[in-house]
């Protein structure tokens, strides 16, 4: 069964006669020409670095309270102000970034794993197995999943790990469909037939010829899943069902900001701006990748 990771994406080197450009070099060149995608990538990188290492350079931790201070507007000591418990908003924003980005990546990882396995098994096996597996996906598609995630979070408590699993378990369906479609199309390609005719082993066909070719659309859809997942986390946190204080996430900060926007608008504006910027960047990067790899299937 195909595993995504270590197979290097560069296809077998063409004979030294002509140093042709691979699909991936081509795509990379196209991506670099897409200004919005590049800006998106840079913003994302900056936000990730800031969230990861920023808290190390701050004198104040995200949960340190200064009840006497209360909700204070931005000042020299607290660059983005403080919330009603006197917690430094910048520290909470950066720490919230860690949580939000982590949820985005981890939950996407869960959905990627399930979707990739499910889709490739269905596509590769074909026949009855395929029919049953995809019928299950169809039924699940019809279920209102947001409602189930809310129920799941209530039933099993607001557990951090469960959040990843619940969100990831919701978002794998489209991935499974895309992967299956790709595998099905690939199976009929001549170069796969040629590989079979040459007597290559199944393992080699899958690792060497199938996976690198499925990777493109999967990568594109993954970049587009991350913002969807982050939005779902923030949605749950906004309703009070996701991340719980004193932890922090962008969705939770937006919730707290929205509750006090009359007295303390800075509590709403900064997290909202950062979260929106992240979603923008991810979407632009995803669109750029799609154009670069020229995938039409994932446009749903």
């Amino acid at each position: 069964m195909p595993e995504p990771a270590p197979a290097s994406p560069t296809p077998p080197a063409a004979d030294a006669v002509e140093p042709g450009r691979s699909l991936w070099q081509d795509a990379w060149a196209r991506l670099r020409r897409n200004r919005m995608a590049v800006i998106g990538g840079v913003v994302l990188l900056a936000l990730t670095v800031l969230s990861l290492f920023g808290p190390l350079f701050l004198a104040i931790s995200y949960q340190e309270q200064d009840l006497g201070l209360g909700a204070a507007p931005p000042s020299a000591t607290h660059l983005l102000g403080t919330d009603k418990l006197g917690r430094d908003q910048l520290a909470r924003l950066l720490f919230g970034g860690r949580v939000s980005l982590l949820v985005g990546l981890a939950a996407t990882g869960v959905s990627l794993t399930i979707g990739l396995l499910w889709g490739s098994i269905a596509g590769y096996a074909g026949g009855k197995v395929d029919a049953v597996m995809m019928r299950i996906v169809d039924i699940l598609y019809a279920l209102p999943f947001t409602i189930f995630v809310i129920l799941l979070m209530t039933v099993f408590g607001r557990n951090f790990i469960l959040l990843f699993v619940a969100i990831g378990a919701v978002e794998w369906l489209t991935m499974a469909r895309i992967v299956r479609g790709q595998v099905l199309a690939l199976k009929r390609q001549e170069f796969i037939e040629a590989a079979v005719a040459l007597g290559l082993r199944k393992r080699r066909i899958i690792l060497r010829h199938m996976i690198p070719n499925v990777l493109g659309p999967v990568m594109v859809y993954t970049t587009l899943t991350i913002p969807a997942v982050m939005m779902l986390e923030a949605f749950l946190s906004f309703l009070g069902l996701g991340i719980q204080p004193p932890m922090s996430s962008w969705g939770l900060l937006i919730k707290e900001g929205a509750e006090q926007m009359e007295e303390a608008p800075w509590l709403l504006v900064y997290p909202a701006a950062v979260f929106a910027a992240t979603l923008f960047s991810l979407n632009f990067l995803g669109d750029g990748l799609r154009d670069a790899l020229d995938v039409r299937a994932s446009r749903d």
Binding site: I139, A142, L143, P144, T146, I147, F148, I150, L151, L152, T154, V155, G157, P227, M231, A234, F235, F238, L239, G240, L241, G251, I254, K255, G257, A258, M261, E262, P265, L268, V269, A272, F275, A276, L279, F280, N283, F284, R299
Partner: protein
């Protein structure tokens, strides 16, 4: 065609059954019951109350009687709202949510389609870029960011609207805008894509060659085909608008179905949670079905099955 519709309608029954079963057992698994927040209830009264709601029965009996009532369309009594049945609560809240959702859908279509058409006609000009990037703003901005920001600007800063409530006609403006603009973005994008594809086809060239005016080409010939992606998006959009109403109704304090669902989850009001969840599921499934049928009717290629 009729057979296709009939088969799709039959296909929704197992989906609803699965939803009802899952929600029932999930709610039973919730730690803490509906009576936990009432302090100091004497043991005898608690037993009586539990007997009244059938909570003393074995689980399978509770499940069987729940499903039996469900078949008769009875969703049971609410645990939290004294003397009100779930049916009554839903009936009272539904018109509010439908109004909100309907208005939001109007906003989405009335903003999204013209934006997409204009962007497609003027492809790769500044008009296209402006329209496409506004659509991107709509897509990227979640409702729970857009809503509070709109309130901050239009209700608190300029004091044009009330920050929350559902009493006057103008109270509808901000919630409907918040919910609708997100989907306007998607619809604009889909319209643009669909129109571009149609405008490049031969029959448009023929229409132009015959001397049809630009307006006639766009509205008479291209629009019907160009809107197909939008029609197939309507199902997911309606589902999204319905679940989006959880947030909107919470932000704007609107007495609709979404708020009932969210508060019932916090109140451990199991019957109300299952009732609203089931109702939502049914609504989404039915509306999806309607969107699918509309799509088949609009697209001659699919009509011949």
């Amino acid at each position: 065609m009729l057979r296709l519709i009939a088969r799709r309608i039959l296909g929704t029954i197992p989906v609803l059954f699965v939803v009802a079963t899952i929600t029932f057992f999930m709610m039973k698994a919730v730690p803490g019951g509906p009576l936990d927040t009432e302090k100091n209830i004497p043991q005898e009264i608690k037993v009586q109350i539990e007997a009244f709601y059938g909570l003393d029965q074995p689980l399978w009996k509770q499940y069987a009687s729940y499903m039996g009532n469900l078949l008769r369309g009875d969703l049971g009594p609410s645990f939290k709202h004294a003397n009100r049945s779930v049916n009554e609560l839903i009936a009272a809240a539904l018109p509010v949510s439908l109004e909100l959702g309907g208005l939001a859908l109007c906003v989405a279509l009335l903003v999204g389609i013209p934006l997409g058409v204009v962007a497609a006609i003027r492809q790769n000009t500044w008009i296209d870029y402006l329209a496409s990037s506004s659509a991107m703003v709509g897509i990227c901005m979640p409702t729970f960011v857009m809503g509070p920001l709109l309130v901050l600007v239009f209700a608190l800063q300029f004091e044009l609207f009330n920050a929350s409530g559902w009493d006057f006609a103008r109270d509808r403006v901000l919630p409907a805008l918040t919910l609708g603009l997100v989907y306007a973005g998607y619809i604009a994008r889909l319209t643009r894509g669909g129109m571009l594809e149609v405008l490049n086809q031969d029959f448009i060239l023929t229409a132009r060659a015959k001397g049809a005016s630009e307006a006639r080409v766009v509205f008479r010939h291209a629009l019907q085909g160009g809107l197909l992606p939008v029609v197939s998006f309507l199902g997911p959009a309606i589902a999204g608008i319905l679940t989006g109403s959880f947030v909107i109704e919470t932000i704007f304090n609107i007495p609709g179905l979404g708020r009932h669902f969210v508060t019932s989850v916090f109140n451990r009001d199991a019957t109300l949670t299952i009732g609203t969840a089931l109702f939502y599921a049914a609504l989404i499934v039915v509306l999806n079905l309607a969107a699918d049928i509309a799509q088949v009717m609009l697209n001659p290629k699919q009509r011949v099955e």
